[in-house]
Amino acid sequence: MSVHPSTLVIARHVDMTQQSKRSLGLIAATAFFTAYSAAGALADSAGATFSDGDKFSEKTGQELYTNVCQACHMDKGQGAVGAGKYPALAKNANLESGGYPIYVIVHGQKGMPPVGSMMSDDQVAAVVNYVRTNFGNDYKDAVTAEDVAGAR
């Protein structure tokens, strides 16, 4: 299995944030309607959407990738390099085990926030399956919502 054990051990030291706590910082810096947040998912030709509320509304793996993961890992999964880098997800051998991306999405890793805390189990599974079968990855053993639930 291609999961990096050391990474996982370290990742467990990271607090497994509840979104409710994390969102306090958000209230402090900006401010909001936690109970009444609204946007109305607006999609355009590029597939860009806005969620309704404080959880991601996108359903399919592709929608989730395009509106969440792409922020850092870029439109073709190519990642990016600056003073540090965002790893490419394209042709990434670490994706061989579906448990690894599930873990990283749910718990975060190093500077990466635990974006899975704003997704349902189904959504995490969908985006993991999307990434593992696109961008030059071809891992056919789909992960399930149950796998995600077990990793939370």
């Binding site: 209230i27 609204a38 946007a39 922020a71 003073a83």
Partner: protein, 533 residues
């Protein structure tokens, strides 16, 4: 009725928390304090570094506020200081975008700022609480001129796309009416002596009088349409002069409408310690602070330096870096000590031989997502049409807020708004995922729902998505209480010859004050170690 439930079985303590604050606000404030977001800054006056460092050398990584604060103070007491900086400029996140500036984000998209001369946007920090004493002291010392930053503007908007038919409401109306209605409810209960739990008769009487004055209640403890309530919430027609100058009272918004609108959710922003008056901004842009520091220590900075390795042994620290203007050209810099202010997103990817506790701490802090969009308009319609001079409008739309410039008030020229400012949450990631032009387009589209003038007056815009920032890979350290408990001290401890500093090594992450206090604490402890051997 739901409201009355709140008032049955009311204890004195609960009562106190209700006065002046909604229960939600109190709970939130308490939670925020425990997260370290609202604590006092802890600046103890100018740093005193006594004792001779005997020519010791210090290498500082990062020419942001933390790095430059350390450089300024350490050189002054005799250290030989050098700074390596990744960007081709100093200041880090203390940064202002003006017309003619270009910015290339991760992914390669380059934006050129097309603002007119004198107009700017602060893509990072932008406001200074009056109690951020460390930063204020340096502004004073380095000659950075400040002006008031308007946080609360009673005439700005609270907006929900799902309430009041999508029509924005004035902050004043929601705030005053909410206060009035709550006062009425509580006064009526207090008047009948139904408060329990150690609230004496005298207290109840005093409370009723306090609520009458604070909530603008009439003799029957009612909050109603009247000249008296309009003195607080404003008039349908303001008092004028001459014939027809008589004021016309305005109609308060019903409590049920305020409650169901959710707009009360934004009121807490105007109560928070960090956002209370007086707030400041530097005249001309937030980067006046970074520039003032650079005037002092700019000669120490080597720009375009991308650090790839930090190695320490018993003799000193060796830092390997690449000159990014000459890719592949690796260089080395050696010093006795190292102060590293590199953001943890990046430091966690750099080879560094520190102990396991510090290494774990370096890897334990995710970085917040944040997006800002600056929009230039042909005229300052928010002032001319809507009498909004500075301050912030809050909305449930993805743009989250619109902030009006706190400078050049009541002038005829063009103006730049902060047209979107997200912080974590889905919308921040969704905005970041877009190409820059799309972010601007969306900010205009949503802003038009609050200010229809956008349509005719918009000229150009620029966006900053902090997760696409090549020099930070995120906005700021996003600590949780649990992570702080386990890792914070380990992050701040001196490890051999290396100490970390920056907003991420503070209890006020994302604030400039955090960077400065962290730096002052780090150099104080480091200096102690140097002079005591």
């Amino acid at each position: 009725m739901q409201q009355s439930q709140y008032f049955t079985g009311m204890s004195r303590r609960n009562l106190l928390s209700l006065i002046g604050l909604t229960a939600g606000t109190a709970a939130m404030y308490q939670a925020m304090t425990s997260l370290g977001l609202a604590v006092e800054s802890g600046y103890k006056g100018p740093v005193k570094l006594e004792g001779d460092p005997k020519g010791a050398t210090v290498l500082i990584l990062g020419a942001g506020l933390a790095g430059m604060t350390a450089a300024l103070e350490l050189r002054q007491v005799g250290y030989k200081v050098k700074i390596l900086e990744y960007n081709k400029r100093s200041g880090g996140r203390n940064w202002t975008l003006r017309g003619g500036d270009t910015y290339t984000e991760l992914g390669g998209a380059t934006q050129k700022c097309e603002f007119d001369e004198g107009l700017y946007i602060n893509p990072g920090p932008w406001r200074i609480p009056y109690h951020h004493n460390g930063l204020l002291a340096y502004c004073r010392r380095l000659g950075v001129t400040l002006e008031p930053f308007q946080q609360l503007n009673h005439n700005a908007f609270l907006h929900s796309s799902k309430a009041f038919g999508g029509k924005p409401q004035r902050v004043r109306d929601i705030k005053i009416d909410f206060q009035g209605h709550v006062s009425e409810l509580l006064a009526k209960i207090a008047h009948t002596g139904k408060l329990e739990g150690g609230v004496t008769k005298e207290d109840q009487e005093m409370l009723v009088e306090a609520l009458r004055s604070w909530g603008a209640l009439d003799k029957d403890y009612a909050y109603t349409k009247s000249v008296a309530t309009s003195e607080f919430r404003g008039f349908a027609q303001d008092p004028g002069g001459g014939l027809g100058g008589a004021p016309v009272p305005s109609e308060p918004i019903a409590l049920a409408d305020i409650l169901s609108s959710g707009l009360w959710g934004s009121l807490a922003n105007f109560s928070l310690y960090e956002f209370q008056t007086t707030m400041f901004q530097p005249v001309g842009g937030i980067d006046m602070i970074g520039k003032a520091f650079t005037k002092e220590v700019g000669d120490l900075i080597t720009y375009n330096s991308k650090v790839s390795k930090i190695h320490q042994d018993d003799k000193g620290v060796t830092v390997t870096y690449e000159d990014v203007t000459n890719p592949g050209a690796m260089k080395e810099e050696k010093a006795d000590w190292c102060i590293c202010t590199i953001p943890l997103t990046i430091l966690s990817q750099i080879e560094i031989n520190v102990g396991a506790p510090m290494q774990a701490a370096i890897e334990a802090v995710p970085y917040a997502s944040s997006v800002k969009v600056g929009l230039q308009f042909k005229r300052r319609f928010w002032e001319q049409d809507e009498l909004i001079f500075g301050g912030v409008s809050y909305t449930d739309l993805p743009i989250t807020q619109i902030s009006y410039p706190s400078t050049s008030f009541n002038t005829n020229g063009k103006g730049v708004l902060l047209g979107a400012y997200t912080w974590n949450g889905p919308h921040s990631y969704e905005f970041t995922s877009m190409v820059p032009e799309e972010r601007v387009r969306r900010a205009v589209e949503y802003g038009t729902m609050i200010h229809p003038q956008y349509k005719d007056e918009f000229e150009n815009g620029i966006s900053m998505a902090w997760h696409r920032s090549p020099f930070t890979l995120g906005c700021a350290g996003d600590w949780t209480e649990e992570a702080r408990k386990e890792h914070y001290d380990n992050l701040c401890q001196i490890d051999g010859r290396i100490v970390l500093a920056g907003e991420h090594a503070s209890y006020i992450p994302a604030w400039m004050e955090g960077a400065i206090l962290s730096s002052l604490d780090a150099i104080t402890r480091l200096h102690q170690r140097v002079v005591t051997g």
